[in-house]
């Protein structure tokens, strides 16, 4: 158990460093949310709800974290494949899920850049006050939000083991998850069937945790607990799926096919 924890921790550190040196990832994480934050600021400011600007900042932040995770995690296995190390990693005595898991969490962790850039962008360009009702809980809510989104990415990465264009699948889930998890658009505005789906997705609870900590009236600790529960569920589901899909890929001898 200690060995696995060490592998995950070291993997996380290495991959965060690695991703932080990738211009595309850093750009996608820091600038892309600013685009949506800017649009949301203009739309809410031009519309009827100017008080929603801070909420738009937070929503754009979580959107950025999900964006980088969905494409990065879905492409994680393919990157190992291109680097020619996938077979070695799978054949190693270390369970492969312990290798893949830190990659996806690291991908969502660099979403921290999105958090900082979006909040500063809103503060300095649009004058949105950064007044947080429960600042300590807000800070406490960030790690479970990021980890749970990263683990949702882990499930996605596990499913696309046999799919060579994993990034395309990840790309496909960017907008739908933004929409259904209520990051900028309240789920109440969506058709009724969307809400139960939103409960199963980590960005919903991460966003609620940040929002409820930033404003009064919510239950951020419950939201954080939901992030933790979903994280555990995603880890188990991802590990099981990964085992199944890896076995299938090995049986068909397609593991290293690019």
């Amino acid at each position: 158990m200690t060995r696995i924890a060490r592998i995950v921790a070291l993997g996380l550190l290495i991959h965060v460093k690695h991703l932080s040196r990738n211009a595309f990832d850093v750009m996608a994480t820091t600038i892309w949310p600013l685009v949506y934050a800017t649009l949301a600021y203009f739309m809410f400011r031009a519309g009827s709800q100017p008080e929603a600007l801070l909420l738009a900042s937070l929503g754009a932040t979580v959107m950025g974290i999900w964006s980088i995770t969905t494409v990065g995690a879905a492409d994680a296995i393919q990157r190992q494949r291109w680097a020619g190390v996938l077979e070695l990693l799978v054949a190693a005595p270390t369970p492969f899920w312990a290798v893949l898991l830190p990659i996806t969490i690291a991908t969502s962790t660099i979403g921290i850049y999105a958090l900082v850039s979006t909040l500063l962008w809103g503060r300095f360009l649009f004058g949105i006050p950064l007044h947080l009702e429960q600042p300590v809980i807000f800070v406490l809510a960030i790690p479970p939000t990021i980890v749970s989104i990263g683990l949702l990415g882990f499930v996605m990465a596990s499913v696309v083991v046999r799919f060579r264009a994993g990034w395309a699948v990840g790309n496909m889930f960017e907008y739908p998850v933004w929409l259904v998890t209520g990051l900028l658009v309240p789920v109440a505005l969506l058709p009724g069937w969307a809400e139960p789906i939103s409960w199963l997705l980590a960005p919903t609870w991460g966003m609620r945790a940040l929002r409820d900590a930033a404003f009064t009236g919510g239950a951020p600790l419950f939201d954080i607990a939901m992030c933790v529960v979903l994280s555990v569920a995603y880890t188990v589901i991802g590990a099981v799926l990964l085992g199944q899909f890896l076995q299938s890929a090995r049986r068909r001898a397609t593991l290293s096919l690019t």
Binding site: A23, F24, M27, A28, I31, W32, V35, T38, L39, A40, F42, M43, F44, R45, A46, G47, S48, Q49, A52, F163, A165, A168, V169, N171, M172, E174, Y175, P176, W178, L179, L184, V185, P186, L189, L190
Partner: protein, 261 residues
């Protein structure tokens, strides 16, 4: 005749060889599903903000989405050749650069029009948007004009691919500029004046304006000038793109960086 053959046959072969998104397993998750959800996302965001009607977002976003293949596929015309190690022989050939790159742009324009039409159709169906049927032909022309201007912008920005390696980053940036500046989701009047001023010189802006006016009941003749401006902007970007291609090609030859990636 030879130039025409290079443009049409060469363009078609190059597109089939380089446009890696042609396979349905990639085409649908990149060029069909995200555009439809872009339309839905902004329509619902507009409802949340209480800003404009669904029609506003369906028309605006579906026209702007012509930029998706226009930018990414055209940048791949340079980067894909480089990755396939065929860029140097291509540039060493005596073929007309205009024929080479215009030929590569024709299939991209067809895809751009398809993306616009599909995202518009699904937007209308899923959001129950009601439109006058007589507006559709002119709306299709607005999409075609935007497809041309966005592909022309794509050629200009593909030229930068001779100097910049991370073209995906650059393509995303240009796409974002069009999304924010061109009145696609926020009326131009609600944007700061410097942004709406800049939008006047960008593709998409006038096509979106024409599309919205025609859907609101204007005739073709009353929006024709907007379409002409959109086409003129496209022609300007095309000319700039061809000049940039020549300049950057010369520079890349001098620095021996044509094949670096």
């Amino acid at each position: 005749m030879s130039t025409l053959r290079v443009a049409l046959v060469g363009g078609a072969i190059s597109f089939r060889g380089l446009f890696g998104w042609l396979h349905p397993a990639i085409f649908v998750p990149t060029l069909i599903v995200p555009p439809i959800f872009q339309v839905l996302f902004f329509a619902y965001l507009g409802r949340a903000a209480g800003l404009e009607s669904d029609t506003f977002y369906v028309v605006g976003n579906s026209i702007q989405l012509a930029a998706l293949p226009g930018l990414f596929a055209m940048s791949h015309a340079i980067n894909g050749e480089r990755r396939s190690q065929t860029l140097a022989p291509l540039l060493a050939s005596p073929a007309s650069r205009v024929a080479l790159f215009l030929g590569r742009s024709l299939p991209v324009m067809a895809i751009g029009l398809l993306v616009s039409a599909v995202s518009f159709s699904f937007g209308v169906l899923l959001l129950d948007v009601e439109l006058p049927t007589r507006a559709l032909p002119t709306l299709a022309l607005a999409m075609l004009a935007a497809t041309f201007s966005c592909t022309a912008l794509g050629i200009a920005h593909a030229a930068v691919g001779l100097r910049v390696r991370e073209m995906a980053v650059f393509s995303n940036l240009v796409f974002a500029v069009l999304l924010v500046f061109c009145g696609v989701n926020v009326p131009l009047g609600d944007l700061p004046s410097w942004m709406s001023g800049a939008a006047e010189g960008l593709p998409v802006t006038h096509a979106v304006q024409a599309g919205r006016e025609v859907v609101a009941g204007s005739s073709f003749l009353s929006v024709a000038h907007l379409l002409v401006i959109e086409l003129a902007i496209g022609a300007a970007y095309l000319a700039a793109g061809l000049v940039l291609l020549r300049l950057f090609e010369r520079d890349a030859r001098r620095r021996a960086t044509i094949e670096l990636f």
